[in-house]
Symmetry: C2
Subunit: 352 residues, 2 copies
């Protein structure tokens, strides 16, 4: 880490008129260019009726004075902040992080800023506070990446009065809105195991409260039902490799299964760890399927069969959808994003 502080005190701008320490305003530019402040404003806003010569002159003066539009002033008068807020939990996870990044890029393209507020606890108060924090910054819209049922409830209770998008991608809500088909993805994974010949399949699910966890679980159960394979109750985890490991150890004490479908890649990793530690092999003794396809999944040992979902695309569409509402256009974005089964080496027919 390294720090840089500008001199500040003796800025010693020599002949420049502005002087007062404040940055040049459109009025300064106007004076130097010999036009009115409004003309400068028009240049900024690309007003159609402007003589080219005038426009050029103003632009030159702007460059010369190093003029930068004052966002606060603009926001004040237009009552638009051109800022959207992102509320997120677990922003250090691969999925959310990718989405946030995509959101940020998409927003920047539309000349919006992104204000992130990540919250550690999912308690109602923490949420309320984070939300209030964002709203008070007068964001124009909100993206909520906190895919837990209780968060969604808390949000609707708090009656946010600005447009918001929640990134709960079950794939079963109305399809006028983009989302990743979690249920379909889970069915893909489950079907893959069944088609390999597995009948004793466990599901290591995500936390009870999480919408995506629920959707994947549902996909699992649906597919098992559709194929008439008897099912055992899913185990509820917390997404962490740590949990996957301990769950795996526990499960192996009984070992009445030949395959596990884990609700995300991290837990699958922990699972594989536990299986190896017990002296068993993947996929020889147990097949494992994950979900997400994090970049590392291809290099797990064995490389993980998993379901890929495009977080970045989801983030982009979220912003598109939100901005479209903001700007008044109502062209519908639609279509669910189809996840994709990536078959690697962690699955094989059951031994017999």
């Amino acid at each position: 880490m390294n720090v840089h502080m500008p001199e500040g005190a003796d800025r010693s701008v020599p002949t420049e008129a502005a002087g007062r320490g404040r940055a040049p305003s459109i009025r300064d530019v106007a004076r130097v260019a010999g036009v009115s402040h409004q003309t400068v404003s028009r240049v900024l806003n690309e007003h159609p009726s402007l003589r080219d010569s005038t426009k050029q002159r103003v632009l030159e003066v702007m460059e010369e004075l190093q003029y930068r539009p004052n966002r606060a002033a603009r926001a004040l008068v237009t009552a638009r902040s051109r800022t959207i807020g992102v509320l997120t939990t677990r922003s250090d996870q691969y999925g959310p992080a990718s989405s946030i990044r995509a959101i940020e890029e998409a927003a920047r393209e539309a000349e919006y800023l992104v204000l992130t507020s990540s919250v550690t606890s999912t308690g109602r108060d923490a949420l309320r506070e984070a939300l209030a924090h964002l709203v008070e910054q007068s964001v124009e819209g909100l993206v909520i990446i906190a895919p837990q049922q209780r968060v969604v409830e808390a949000i609707s209770e708090l009656s946010v009065d600005i447009p918001y998008v929640t990134m709960q991608s079950t794939g079963l809500l109305d399809d006028t809105v983009p989302s990743v088909d979690q249920i379909g993805g889970a069915r893909l994974a489950t079907r893959h195991l069944i088609e390999l010949g597995h009948r004793d399949i466990y599901h290591l699910a995500g936390p009870q409260d999480w919408i995506e966890a629920e959707a994947r679980m549902r996909g699992f159960l649906d597919e098992m039902g559709a194929q008439e394979v008897p099912t055992t109750a899913p185990i509820l985890g917390d997404w962490s490799a740590e949990f996957g490991y301990y769950a795996g150890r526990e499960m192996l004490r009984i070992r009445d299964f030949t395959a596990i479908f884990s609700s995300n890649d991290q837990m699958a990793l922990g699972l594989i760890h536990a299986i190896h530690e017990a002296g068993l092999s993947v996929p020889g003794d147990v097949s494992v399927v994950g979900f997400d396809d994090i970049p590392e999944a291809a290099h797990f040992w064995p490389p993980l069969t998993t379901v890929r979902q495009d977080f970045a695309e989801l983030g982009r569409r979220c912003i598109a959808r939100l901005l479209e509402g903001l700007t008044g256009d109502s062209e519908r974005y639609s279509g669910i994003i189809a996840p994709e089964l990536v078959v690697r080496k962690s699955t094989a027919p059951p031994r017999r």
Copy 2:
């Protein structure tokens, strides 16, 4: 994903005076409370000379009208945005993401906002643009998490005239500033391998341009030198598991080493993948040490010996340092953050 748009058109606020669609201002509050707008302003700024009864009344009216201070107006007149910008590359990686999160929390605590701008390319133009973007939002300070030499150069060339902190943690710059001792961490890892009895040790480094990669490489070379172990030239990677995998395959064609120190955990994972694929064992045939201690590292197979660095702490200190400069206090934060060697199962004495 799910979208919510407020009615907007027929908001139908019943008797409220404000009406006009605009949010209530301090003048509205003042009118209702029967005081001047300045008194309301004083309540907001916790001015000392205010009668308790007055203050109370104003606060009640604020609550009643759902008054929210207008950030833009305040920023306009004070010329302070209470916003800091974060410029980052690869924000989807564990390290940067953790730091960003910590930065965001620390900033929020100090009632600052965080504006993130992540940049994919490290080309000078992309950097200039991202930087300009942030500066134009009139951020008061900048944290730059883009630990590449060329970024640092580009930044200093662009002559940013606001305070900024670059998160380049070599551990050798002046110690009045917090940073993680990368060199020390790398020496720890290297010494561990040497003490186990390894003599033929390779180093899979990060990209040439990255300051941290350079520091770790230097730590490796320093320690090897100090212990008088002959060294081969490090291999330059790109931090990805993918690269680690291909590098590993290449290296195994010669196989004149018994241990590898990888500059991060992801590459170590790829390395292990390649080693396993070649039918060799870790740590039996090759010992591997990583760097970072990402949460998954404990569940790699075998669990990875690595060097833990506290990204969150680094982020916090960064903000502390920046804000301290901003607010004028100049109490020095100091002390480098010591990384810690975490010995797991991927290292053992060389076979013989």
